[in-house]
């Protein structure tokens, strides 16, 4: 299957430049080569049919009668070797630890600003800063309970952090369904523990709910999946009510108190009495209850300030400032257009760089210099000049590739990696995470809304496979129907 496999001069996750498999991928490549012809395609079709039957789909357009499509999924897994994973895990723990301290500081003492490490101007112009949260500290001081961080691997094989966090983005359910190589670790179980930890003080057995914008949200499947797997209720804003100093659900037997909300609604829509008044998704009065310490919210409102791409550029400095350590996972070099020197450089090198709006996610508004037309470059130049703070620029990375099933054969396609980090009593990194793959040849756009798909991510463990032990056989099924009874 791998004859003629061409990954150019890029870094491929499975095949070395000599054409031989990497050590971690050798067993997989051998297995695939040993399959009868068409077998991979057959399994791919089975996987697709399963996802269709399970309704793991999104609406293509409109709703009623609109065609539903499955989330594209490629069955050839992406393998991450143990030594790579160790670095990712350590790096993410360090990063989230520092970002938590940073957010807490921003809303309280602002030492990082007063000490001149982080510019006040950047802080005050961050669209995701929530002045309503000034002076507040969430239970246990945790602001970002659940974080997804986008990593990419460049030509040199080094992992870089590409985005700070994309908390609200879709995860893809199969990521959680156990990783076939690493011992299965249960994400919903860990998430439940994290949420329980964020309960108001003195509540031992908190009532937890997942708050969703509803079935038309593109990540609805994931919301309901997580609620189901954790065994907690999935609620919409209209199911919740604030009475007095508490939040309640409306049930068939009256009101029931809620202690923790894992909310999958943006800050802006959370509480029309505090944020956007036109929100119909949220719960009026929720923030008052929150500030009185009577409800836990994960993630904490206001945590989005760390998603700002200009803040991202300061993460190495932030890590140094709070932890006195060097960043384990490097950033992609980032030029802030709000800075005169940086802007000058960016405008001179537009055709070589990638320009990104600072407050957008999901790949929106990104201009890739080498692939942009002159008109597009002129357009982004005007936008940068009009609002420099709103743009950062980075050199174009050469995303690594992974063998991917394409038609009759296997071809190299670009991938990124989004591991998930939970911050509760301790910081936990889910082994593996989401590998997104750009299914179009040569494309580096991995977003599912723009032709991207997903792959399983397998983290190899040094000790090899964990085999279930033999526990002896069960009792005989001794009872049978008496002969002659029929």
């Amino acid at each position: 299957m791998f004859e003629g496999y061409d990954c150019g001069n890029l870094f491929d996750e499975a095949i070395q430049s000599t054409g031989a498999p990497r050590p971690g991928a050798a067993a997989l490549v051998k297995r695939i080569n040993g399959l009868p012809p068409e077998e991979l395609q057959r399994r791919q079709r089975m996987a697709d049919a399963t996802m269709l039957n399970l309704g793991i789909t999104f609406n293509v357009y409109g709703h009623e009668g609109g065609t539903e499509k499955i989330f594209p999924f490629d069955i050839i897994p992406r393998i991450v070797e143990q030594h790579d994973w160790d670095q990712i895990e350590l790096g993410l723990k360090q990063r989230i630890h520092a970002l938590n301290l940073f957010i807490d500081d921003l809303y309280n003492d602002q030492k990082v600003v007063n000490d001149g490490v982080f510019p006040r101007e950047l802080l005050e112009t961050a669209a995701t800063l929530r002045p309503q949260c000034r002076g507040f500290r969430p239970p246990q001081g945790i602001w970002c309970h659940v974080t997804g961080t986008d990593l990419v691997r460049d030509k040199d094989g080094q992992f870089y952090v590409l985005e700070n966090r994309e908390v609200m983005k879709r995860i893809f359910p199969q990521v959680f369904e156990g990783l076939p190589i690493a011992p299965v670790e249960n994400y919903p179980e860990k998430l439940l523990a994290t949420l329980m930890h964020s309960a108001p003080k003195g509540i031992d057995d908190p009532n937890i709910v997942v708050l969703t914008p509803g079935i038309y949200n593109s990540a609805y499947f994931e919301h309901s999946y997580l609620a189901q797997q954790m065994g907690v209720e999935l609620v919409q804003g209209s199911d919740l009510a604030v009475v007095g100093d508490r939040v309640y659900t409306r049930t068939t037997r009256g009101l029931k108190r809620v202690d923790v909300i894992y909310r999958r609604i943006d800050d802006d829509f959370l509480d029309p009495a505090c944020f956007r008044a036109d929100s119909v998704l949220g719960v009026p009065g929720l923030m008052e209850v929150y500030k009185k310490g009577n409800i836990g919210l994960a993630n904490a409102p206001g945590n989005g300030v760390a998603d700002d791409k200009a803040v991202y550029a300061y993460v190495p400095a932030i890590i140094k400032y709070y932890l006195n350590e060097e960043a384990i996972l490097p950033n992609v070099p980032t030029y802030l257009c709000g800075d005169r020197e940086h802007r000058k450089y960016v405008l001179e090198h537009l055709a070589e760089m990638v320009m990104k709006p600072t407050n957008e996610s999901g790949g929106y508004g990104i201009v890739i210099g080498p692939r942009a037309s002159k008109a597009e470059l002129d357009d982004v130049r005007q936008k940068i000049l009009a609002n420099p703070r709103n743009y950062v620029a980075q050199p174009l990375l050469h995303l690594s590739t992974v063998p991917t099933l394409v038609g009759d054969g296997i071809e190299a396609r670009h991938v990124d990696l989004r591991p998930f980090v939970l911050c509760g009593e301790e910081i936990y990194v889910l082994p593996g995470g989401l590998t997104r793959v750009a299914l179009k040849k040569g494309s580096t756009v991995v977003n599912s809304s723009q032709g991207g798909g997903s792959k399983d991510t397998w983290v190899l463990r040094r000790n090899g496979l964990h085999a279930p032990g033999a526990n002896g056989s069960a009792q005989n099924q001794s009872q049978t129907q008496l002969v002659g009874a029929m």
Binding site: G55, E64, F221, Q228, L234, D239, T249, R250, T252, G285
Partner: protein, 321 residues
């Protein structure tokens, strides 16, 4: 349980049962209409009358032909009680409470939805065969079985059963009405009466023929009516449906027999005990159609009471803020 979730579970279940019964409806008529020497001028009209949606049909189609009736009942997305609309509504409800039902339940609903949607895309009404409707019935039965076997029999399950049984009671009454529509009283000599073949088809449409034989033997119109209305043990008879619908309500409210805790329980208790102490002669004295009509009205009132008692958003005390 959240009031909204209870509402969604109840309606998910009702819509699945409704979809199944549309398949049964069509089935009985397919069989009867194929009979040589048609007794009725218009064999498809009673089917529309029995749905209670005649005005909507007349407005959208006018003529009752096999094609227009099948399209209306099965594939018309604009008709809220069509097979396809019911399937979609069931799935939307299920999707909203995905975390409250089991994965096998969700998968069966979703497969049913895909089956019907595929039919809507690919089949013309002339291709809607016995085989298709049978698949719908089986899918619904599979869903009921999977629900029983994989959903804990707590409050949610009770709402699922309640919805299914109320819907089924209503639909059995309508299936009975398909062939008896137009009778004002006990059949008069001039009335066009269903033949033995037709009564057999009615029994078959609710999969009741074998069970009927064990109780009544030969086919007599009054016995068929008796069986479908008043049999205590057949799971699609109206009396049976209401008996266990009442049980579900009692389990949820904790009321002892002979008492009621809310309006829904009161209405259902009254209706069920009425059926317990009715004989088929009493029914025929009023005329079957009149009896069935009243029953359907009472079932609608019961449905309203259930919504009021369990799903309606309670008025909240004014918050301190």
């Amino acid at each position: 349980m959240l009031s909204r979730v209870a509402d969604n579970l109840y309606w998910m279940s009702r819509y699945i049962e409704r979809a199944e019964n549309i398949a049964r409806f069509v089935d009985v008529n397919q069989a009867v209409a194929l009979e040589p020497g048609d007794l009725q001028d218009d064999p498809w009209a009673p089917l529309i009358h029995a749905t209670g949606d005649w005005p909507l049909f007349a407005e959208r189609y006018g003529q009752t032909t096999r094609e227009s009736v099948l399209r209306f009942l099965t594939l018309d997305p604009e008709y809220p009680n069509s097979l396809i609309s019911c399937t979609r509504a069931a799935r939307e409800n299920a999707r909203t409470v995905r975390e409250s039902i089991s994965t096998p339940m969700w998968e069966e609903i979703n497969k049913l939805y895909l089956l019907v949607n595929r039919a809507a895309r690919e089949l013309s009404p002339s291709e809607l065969t016995y085989e298709f409707y049978n698949q719908i019935k089986l899918a619904s039965q599979l869903f009921v079985g999977v629900t029983d076997g994989t959903l804990s029999h707590g409050e949610g399950w009770q709402f699922v059963r309640l919805g299914r049984l109320i819907e089924r009671a209503d639909k059995t009454s309508r299936i009975l009405d398909v062939k008896t529509y137009g009778w004002k009283h006990t059949p008069a000599p001039g009335d066009v009466q269903p033949t033995v073949v037709q009564w057999t088809a009615i029994l078959q449409s609710v999969s009741a023929l074998e069970m009927y034989r064990k109780v009544h033997g030969r086919i007599h119109p009054t016995c068929v009516m008796d069986f479908l209305l008043l049999d205590r043990e057949f799971p699609r008879s109206i009396r049976y449906c209401l008996r266990f619908a009442e049980e579900s309500l009692r389990i949820m409210t904790g009321s002892v027999p002979g008492t009621f805790a809310n309006r829904a329980e009161q209405l259902l208790g009254r209706l069920r005990s009425g059926l317990d102490y009715t004989s088929i002669d009493d029914v025929l004295a009023d005329g079957l159609h009149a009896y069935v009509d009243k029953l359907q009205m009472q079932l609608n009132q019961l449905g309203d009471a259930i919504r009021e008692c369990f799903f309606a958003t309670p008025a909240l005390p004014v918050s301190a803020k």
